[in-house]
Amino acid sequence: MGLSKDQIAQRIAQELRNGWYVNLGIGIPTLVANHIPQGINVEFQSENGILGMGPFPFEGEEDADLINAGKQTITAMPGASFFSSELSFAMIRGQHVQLTVLGAMEVSDSGDIANWKIPGRMVKGMGGAMDLVASAENIIVAMQHTNRAGESKLLPECSLPLTGVQCVKKIVTDLAVLEVHPERGFILLERAPGVTVNEIQSKTAGRLVVEGDVPEMQL
């Protein structure tokens, strides 16, 4: 039994540090905002032009002029600010945003990521993902360990068109927390409750480094 999407978000939220500006991608990353640990103050940036993004509005209070990068209606927290796309990406490329959390279709054991295109099948575009992964100091990928066909998404090399090279630092899946070391590969840090190292090994196609006893995640 692996983690639910919400539990993956909960585990990623433990990585948040006081005073960080954080960009959350669409999907599981968005859920991270629901699990900010006590005593931690962070501000969420959405690349379409807001810092200090708040929760969804109450029904009837939606504002067409207030959305996030997933085009969802949102609210602005006290202290929030609005800005242009150019300034938004200045924050991102200029490394003023400390953490980026995003989803992926594939990650390689040297930290390459693919998440924007399946040739001949799906081409939605990279949006801001290429800018984010090229510049963020900390990049955490939130994803399922395997795809719908049961194949590993943690690979020796990505087979899909890349979004960025050697950029992913950490991965949280339904089965494990892994650090990505560009030379050594995926370093297994934690197991999901009840999940064995063998299961993780069997579902990881790229190089997996297991050192000593691997602890269970604390959620």
Partner: protein
């Protein structure tokens, strides 16, 4: 002094604002998703029937709104965007080869607009290095990190939408409807701004202007804004 002390940019309506727009031009459209899009200008271009348009816009609208309206009438020849999901007609035209598509990173899109308006012909960015976006582009290493050379856009027309504007073309945006509008206003050789509220000069606080009128060639009072919401997400009152 009996003359006014400002340069008026006012045109009567969207139709008048299109003067000089011809087939096969490159045109910028502000907006992110359906937020902050120039609704009136898009409708007027549809009515004018201008074809062969190369669109520079972050997104391509949805099937029946935004730039989706110009896709349906086949007025768009090429789309330069960062994200084009949520549009079936777009996908159909792209896969059948009727529509040319160039996808570029969102930050690069924004900066290529800003550069165009700021007189910077090209710049280096790390975004897209090592991906297909970098194919054929010059790579240069700064501080140990590879960057690719990207060029400023060249757009004869830009259509933007603001919340408030005055007759001198000064603009103020609201919320996240600002997005690509300011740098596209800077980039367009002829920038057309449509506003929800057109006021007299002097009514806007100069401290609060987001885009000075120097970047705006034509401004008009927009009408009938639909401001459609793409993903209506709410929470229950009890939370």
């Amino acid at each position: 002094m009996s003359t006014t002390n400002y340069i008026s940019k006012v045109v009567p309506d969207a139709t008048a604002a299109l003067e000089g727009l011809e087939d096969n031009m490159t045109v910028m459209f502000g907006g992110f998703g359906l937020c902050g899009i120039p609704e009136n200008s898009i409708t007027a271009i549809r009515e004018k029937g201008t074809t062969g348009i190369t669109c520079i816009s972050n997104n391509a609208g949805v099937d029946d709104f935004g730039l989706g309206l110009l896709l349906h009438t086949r007025q768009i020849k090429k789309m330069i965007a960062s994200y084009v999901g949520e549009n079936d007609e777009f996908e159909r035209q792209m896969l059948s080869g009727e529509l040319e598509v160039e996808l570029i990173p969102q930050g690069t899109l924004a900066e290529r607009c800003r550069a165009a308006g700021a007189g910077v012909p090209a710049f280096y960015t790390p975004a897209g290095y090592g991906t297909e976006v970098a194919e054929g582009k010059e790579v240069r290493v700064f501080n140990g990190k590879p960057h690719i050379l990207e060029h400023a856009f060249d757009a004869p027309f830009a259509f933007v939408k603001a919340w408030k504007g005055d007759k001198a073309g000064n603009l103020i945006f609201k919320g996240t409807a600002r997005n690509f509008n300011p740098m596209m206003a800077m980039a367009g050789k002829i920038t057309v701004a449509e506003v929800e509220e057109l006021v007299e000069v002097g009514e806007l606080d100069p401290n609060s202007i987001h885009i000075p009128g120097i970047f705006v060639q034509r401004i008009f009072q927009g009408v009938g804004y639909e401001k459609r919401i793409e993903q209506r997400t709410v929470r229950a009152k009890s939370e």
